[in-house]
Symmetry: C2
Subunit: 380 residues, 2 copies
Amino acid sequence: MKTVDEVWELLRWEISARQAVETDLADALGGVLREDVRAPEDQPAFDRSAVDGFVVGAGDSSEVFCIVGEIRAGDGRRHELTAGHALRISTGAAVPAAGEVIMLEDAAESEGMVRFSRRGRDHVRRRGEDARAGDVLVAEGTRLGPGAIALLASVGCIRPKVTRGIDILHVATGNEIVAADANPGPGQIRDSNSPLVAAWARTKRMRLEQKRVGEDAEALRHAIEGRRDVLLVSGGASVGGHDCTAEVLDAAGFEILVTKVAVRPGKPLIVGRRGEEWAFGLPGNPLSHFVCLHVFVDVALTAMQGGSGAPAMFRGPVLADVNGNPRETWWPASEETTGLRPLRWASSGDMTALGTANALVRVPVSGLAAGREAEFIRVT
Amino acid sequence: MKTVDEVWELLRWEISARQAVETDLADALGGVLREDVRAPEDQPAFDRSAVDGFVVGAGDSSEVFCIVGEIRAGDGRRHELTAGHALRISTGAAVPAAGEVIMLEDAAESEGMVRFSRRGRDHVRRRGEDARAGDVLVAEGTRLGPGAIALLASVGCIRPKVTRGIDILHVATGNEIVAADANPGPGQIRDSNSPLVAAWARTKRMRLEQKRVGEDAEALRHAIEGRRDVLLVSGGASVGGHDCTAEVLDAAGFEILVTKVAVRPGKPLIVGRRGEEWAFGLPGNPLSHFVCLHVFVDVALTAMQGGSGAPAMFRGPVLADVNGNPRETWWPASEETTGLRPLRWASSGDMTALGTANALVRVPVSGLAAGREAEFIRVT
């Protein structure tokens, strides 16, 4: 039985990043950047006015200025500043060399002339004050959100290198499961793991194919034929009884690296490898399945995408006592303004917490008292 | 000039939720649920075995049991338990009435007979232990993530009522901006606000149309013709100079409710209303634009979707001193394991922080000392 940290180490060290491809900016959203993107020139590239107002020579101490022209944003002409003359200037417009900008609120205009009630405030965004040419703006390994996308656009990086889409095959197993739109007969339940994986893959922008088979090893063997980056099998992950995932993976040439993890819920987790392909046998119980997907499969996917390969951990106080267990627990919780509210769960099959869970709290073997700081991951 | 809280109040009270429509489960991801979804029957609906093992009569104290059959998951037959007889049982299988389940690890099998080394542990998930028929499983107003989608699927709720898609028109204005794939001439810059809005809308699953115009009021007037839920105009939001957003919105029949907000960066924010339509004039400077989008427009969209209409606020310590300002500041930060790292920004036009910002910290007028707890929102 491996610990959670041991499984993370394994995934982090053994999984290599998939190919990086130049991608349209819109499609790069959510992807991991595979190159340092540097400023091609100083940012901003020229002195820009930060306000609407007037520009005069910085050393020009005239009392009244004659308004002789205007510089609007986007105006590419070259403007000269001469003594006693002022130019109107718009926010974002290029400031002529040795110009001082005075904001509209500090100016009094009358018949083509302007006086200033206040001088010497700095209303210019200087060339290079944000970044210098060659500075790294977005670092390799960054997951591209809307802000990073905007930053790339601002420097004309419209085909960034990001990791190609990851291909996943998901097979739900179990004689007792029926599709979510079917009516379960006696002893049957609806398959909720397939909709979970479908929604999760959609938030991660993965390419997903899904199948459903019974508990028959031959059917599973047939279902997993072919190659892809990640194979997920839900159910059949225990060692006893009719569970056959490990056996089928082994027969298909996967080296089985993990069969059990000291984690609650979720103990029966299979991790297998066939060259660059990785397989995960997830426990069929919905809560265990949810935890393993977020705690382990997410880490593998991040590693494939060229990200850190470690889950993003945060810290916050728990708002109630949480029981420990000989295995460390990943407890579903609702992250609220004041901390993490642990949600009730009766068993590893109890998915009622999933309606509100947005976090999984890592509970040590000794448990956590209310108010104690805990580590957690966010789940979507 | 309004405060941030006053703008939130306005949006919360004045914006009504859009129509709720029955939606395929896959497409409901990210939407706001508009009905309480209740358990149609007890959860689980029948006593289920939590392990692989054997089932015998709960009161049957025989020393050795004869293995007379098997109950597999999904088996809908009715099984009787008789004295001295045991049935094999799989995880998830229905447990016969008055049955006790003993796990495989506590059983020793030999020639069709089985002895148990340990009895009396509860390995049954009882009918109704997760939820009772009629209990609310997913509450109205919940934003549906993969976990909630799975929970809905488990009870056969495959066409939940969620708010219909929100239609947005975004118009970027400014004579100085060129498309991200163009080369800016002297005095010009690339339009990064349009890629920002496109990516943001994609993460929110909004329907977006985008246009770009100069600073000409007539062009803007023409661009905003027609109706939609939300109109966003980037740039031209100041009152002086050539900024014409407020004037054009007013002429188009929008009641202008806000023209300035006491927030840094981002002071010039226009909020207008025409019946059920809402318009936002956002400052063109990229950092101000980013802040206003997340602090104000997000709140409006959540209200339209039938969510709480308040931004989800969290708390954590800041890892460095943060300066205050007469206006409250929403400071770009990187949320790390130990707290919030404030990112450098030189001006409201400095977007270099957007490569790594995943949070905006609310900094009071007095500022924040390193280590102090701060409120923040998450940004994607």
